[in-house]
């Protein structure tokens, strides 16, 4: 192997460090995320009216629901990119699937912590085996398992393949889990908790709906930003790993 060629490629990862950090897309995403977050705070605390029966506690809702939305979106993205990976076998798809799953797990943690806090304040119990809550819990375990599959040892394409397969069947499992749990619950606790307070009274006040939509948009931007950031980070890591591999080869020769 010619050393010159290696030399030529040597500064590549370092040179790529700066453009990734300040690319235009990152800036746009960051800006819109920050703006949407601020707007969300304005709408949550100043614009939306305070709920009559639950009071200010109801504002947990504006964090809980968008997190759940982002978590499901993230897992759906993982599912789509898993399928794409199995068809096209491009590493970038796998990276997207991985980063999305990780973000999904983070937001599921938010859902699973804010959920019980809200439940404690409005239903006076930390945990109800309510279909959505339970499904989210199982979803959480499924995607933690997905991340475990990724921690396996071995070459990347094997891991990526196995993870993609698991991502697909894991996501396919979710609707069945939901129906099973809903069915199970309706047998023993008919309408104790109804559909959960988020839908009580057949709808929510318009100002609340606006605040909710703004928060959902803000969280979606946050997700997009994190995804973009995470993917560019993973790409860089892959490059560095490649480079290390090359360097080792060169040292061995």
């Amino acid at each position: 192997m010619s050393i010159n060629l290696e030399r030529e490629k040597a500064p590549l990862p370092a040179a790529d460090l700066s453009p990734v950090k300040s690319s235009l897309l990152t800036k746009i995403l960051y800006g819109s995320m920050a703006a949407a977050m601020l707007a969300a705070f304005y709408f949550i605390f100043l614009y939306a009216e305070i709920e009559k029966t639950m009071g200010a506690v109801q504002k947990i809702f504006y964090m809980h629901v968008p997190s759940a939305w982002v978590a499901f979106l993230a897992f759906f993205v993982t599912f789509v990119f898993s399928i794409l990976f199995l068809i096209k076998r491009k590493r970038i798809f796998d990276t997207y699937a991985y980063v999305s799953a990780e973000i999904g797990v983070v937001f599921t943690i938010i859902v699973l912590t804010t959920g019980p806090i809200w439940a404690k304040s409005s239903w006076n119990t930390w945990w109800a085996w309510e279909p959505r809550l339970t499904t989210t819990l199982i979803l959480f375990f499924l995607f933690v398992a997905y991340l475990m599959v990724r921690q396996m040892d071995g070459v990347w394409d094997k891991k990526a393949r196995l993870a993609a397969v698991f991502g697909i069947i894991g996501f396919a499992d979710v609707p069945i889990v939901f129906f099973a749990i809903r069915w199970w619950q309706s047998k023993f606790h008919p309408i104790v908790f109804g559909d959960g307070p988020s839908q009580q009274g057949g709808g929510i006040a318009p100002s609340m709906l606006v605040a909710l939509l703004v928060t959902i948009a803000a969280f979606t931007f946050l997700y997009a930003y994190l995804l973009h950031k995470g993917v560019s980070f993973e790409n860089m890591k892959i490059k560095v790993d490649h480079y290390k591999e090359k360097l080792r080869e060169r040292l061995e020769n």
Binding site: L86, I138, F141, L142, V144, A145, M148, V149, M152, D153, G154, K158, R161, L162, A164, V165, F166, I168, I169, G170, A172, D173, I176, V177, F179, A180, I181, W183, W184, K187
Partner: protein, 224 residues
């Protein structure tokens, strides 16, 4: 394809009958689970009867996971998996063969351990045995179908014994919910048979969906 699958299943069962290692372990383990259950729930107490339908599935799940682990990891030891993969057959027949072997093994374990459970806890079946066997069959089918698939997936890892339960339990939760409910109804309260049948249909639907999915996806798992 079916012939190749049958050959693999036969090979697995023959080698199992030669050593009786896994089957013996599974049955002993099932017995130990029954023992632990008797500590946890006083057998003399009448309310214990309510947990027996659930206990049936605890036994099946825990002893099943032992067998599932072995069936794929044993192929890894001398790298016989590689031999199977380069043999002139599809990956799906390997899966099918492994599935049949595991399924027959879990059925044997069930046939031995569940009568023991009923005997030791002095449980009188108030329902239909025939339906109970049907539930066992449908439930074990789903559990083993997805279990064999995930065992193949996990066997690529060095710590597959630890990985498999983590993958398998959340994935099979609909089956477990369905069969425990159906078992409870069938063993104690036959009047609600229609809802037990509804549960069975749910589990059967799951079985079909995931059996097909596993069939389609196994070639990605068992790639050389």
């Amino acid at each position: 394809m079916l012939r190749a699958a049958l050959t693999i299943a036969k090979k697995d069962i023959y080698s199992e009958l030669r050593t009786k290692q896994v089957l013996g372990t599974m049955i002993i383990f099932a017995g130990l689970v029954i023992l632990v259950l008797s500590f946890a729930f006083d057998p003399a107490n009448n309310t214990t009867k309510a947990v027996i339908p659930g206990a049936v599935w605890i036994i099946i799940v825990f002893s099943g996971i032992l067998g599932l682990n072995r069936s794929l990891v044993s192929e890894q030891r001398n790298d016989t998996m590689h031999g199977l993969l380069v043999a002139p057959m599809e990956a799906s027949s390997i899966y099918l063969g492994k599935f049949m072997a595991n399924f027959s093994m879990i059925l044997i374990v069930e046939a031995v351990s569940i009568p023991f459970l009923f005997l030791l806890f002095d449980f009188k079946v108030n329902g239909s045995i025939l339906y109970f066997i049907l539930v066992l069959f449908v439930g074990s089918f789903g559990f083993i179908a997805i279990g064999t698939f995930l065992a193949a997936l996990a066997s690529n890892s060095k710590s597959s014994e630890m990985l498999l339960p983590l993958l398998l339990f959340p994935m099979t939760s609909p089956v477990l919910i369905g069969v425990t409910q159906a078992t409870k109804i069938i063993l104690t309260n036959m009047e609600k048979l229609h809802s037990a049948i509804a549960w069975l249909q749910l589990v059967a639907a799951y079985d079909v969906i995931f059996f097909v999915l596993c069939f389609l996806l196994i070639e990605y798992v068992l790639e050389v």
